[in-house]
């Protein structure tokens, strides 16, 4: 990712201007993504089967190979999702950016509940007329033909509301997912133990495959009532309810910065603070050594 792209990758989050790789308008330029495909690892035909089997077979070696090939995920808060959708919409003015709401591929391959569409693909229809027709035909008909998929082309405003609903009701973590860094291809709502990327980090120990967000949860014990809802929702074991004190305690090193705990807190005792403020978690490089931006710096993608 070049410096020029990063300079424009700015948005206001929690009242402060922040520079993030996924705020770059180029990340939502689908033609750019297609043009740069040859730079990436040649994805094998069996995308799903290999993303599921090979980590088990080859472990971290396979996962690193895939990450180096441009496939990675990073956790984002809902506020960042809102900005991402705005930027994606603005970056494609005059073009149709379609958010396709479909059932989660990871859950489908791993036996999770696929009755609700929770995966958000950001897709552009192809420009040539005949391909465009075929594209829409496939989008609109495949939902009927295939019981696994719910191709529901929706606008980004509806998508934003749905994302908040999934966070509050189902406790799902938002991630930006890419199969060709730095193009954002999907905004997922995922959970353990289905998510392939999560498994790649937590089972095979490759943090680059599933990068933590830029925030950590901070609990105000004055307002905490000790109900323990946040502990139940945390997928990463970063929150513990102290039953004697009836307060929650946090483990910032485990916190991935998803903000799910904050969304279920009835007394608003949890707020998201920048990871940079926690000295232990401060990164040597602005984006961190394991971050995709650092990983792909030399290749100039």
């Amino acid at each position: 990712m070049c410096e020029e792209c990063l300079r424009h990758a700015v948005a206001t989050i929690f009242g402060k201007e922040q520079q993030r790789w996924y705020f770059s308008p180029h990340a939502y330029d689908y033609q750019r993504f297609l043009d740069s495909q040859d730079k990436f690892i040649e994805y094998p035909d069996q995308y799903e089967i290999l993303s599921a089997i090979n980590p088990g077979k080859f472990g971290a070696e396979w996962v690193r190979k895939v990450v180096e090939g441009g496939r990675t995920a990073q956790i984002v808060t809902w506020e960042e999702v809102v900005e991402i959708l705005r930027i994606a919409k603005e970056a494609n003015e005059g073009e149709n950016l379609i958010c396709i709401n479909m059932s989660c591929l990871c859950k489908r391959t791993r036996g999770g509940d696929v009755s609700e569409p929770i995966c958000m693909f950001l897709i552009h229809p192809p420009k040539p007329e005949h391909e465009r027709e075929m594209f829409f035909e496939r989008i609109y008909t495949s939902g009927e033909a295939e019981s696994w998929y719910f191709y529901d082309p929706i606008d980004s405003d509806k998508m934003r509301e749905l994302m908040l609903d999934y966070e509050k009701r189902l406790g799902l973590v938002h991630i930006v997912f890419t199969i060709g860094f730095p193009s954002v291809t999907t905004v997922c709502n995922c959970e353990m133990p289905y998510c392939h990327s999560m498994r790649q980090r937590f089972l095979y120990g490759v943090p680059e495959a599933y990068v933590e967000g830029y925030y950590v949860a901070s609990v105000s014990n004055d307002e905490c009532t000790g109900c323990g809802k946040c502990q139940q929702q945390c997928q990463f074991g970063a929150i513990r309810l102290d039953r004697k004190l009836e307060k929650v305690t946090t483990m910032p090193a485990n916190c991935m910065g998803c903000g799910i705990c904050r969304s279920v807190c009835a007394t608003d005792a949890i707020e998201m603070v920048e990871r940079e403020k926690v000295t232990l978690l401060r990164k040597a490089e602005p984006y961190g050594l394991h971050h995709p931006v650092a990983l792909h710096k030399e290749s100039g993608k």
């Binding site: 088990g56 472990g59 791993r110 998929y149 498994r199």
Partner: protein, 115 residues
């Protein structure tokens, strides 16, 4: 069927440069038999498995590259008959045997290396 499962286990999946994990070689041999003809309708073993060892995967022949990789995974794996369940990550199996009990066709077998 067992031979084909063993072949999958030993295959390098097209990546001869990668080393197969020792843990994978030592993991239990979990076989989903040929009797499993409608895995996408049943999914009982996948749902009951807590560490999610099983994976519903499309057959190699029906998935191919297209110009639009984002939606490729959607429309090209439509063929029902091409889906099958395999034990993708036997390394995380806790040998609870829930899948063996749950399978309505009794077609799942688990063999540990000491057998």
């Amino acid at each position: 069927m067992r031979e084909s499962i063993e072949r999958i286990r030993e295959s390098d999946m097209g990546y001869p440069e990668l080393k197969i994990l020792e843990e994978y070689k030592a993991a239990p041999l979990i076989t989903v038999g040929e009797e499993c003809t409608q895995p996408q309708e049943c999914r009982k073993c996948m749902e009951i498995c807590a560490p999610k060892v099983f994976v519903l995967a499309p057959d190699a022949k029906l998935v191919s590259h297209t110009k639009y990789p984002l939606i490729r995974v959607g429309w090209e794996t439509r063929a029902h008959e091409a889906m099958r369940i395999i034990a993708a990550e036997p390394t995380v199996c806790t040998l609870c045997m829930a899948c063996v009990r749950e399978c309505p066709l009794h077609c799942i077998t688990i063999e540990t290396p000491c057998q």
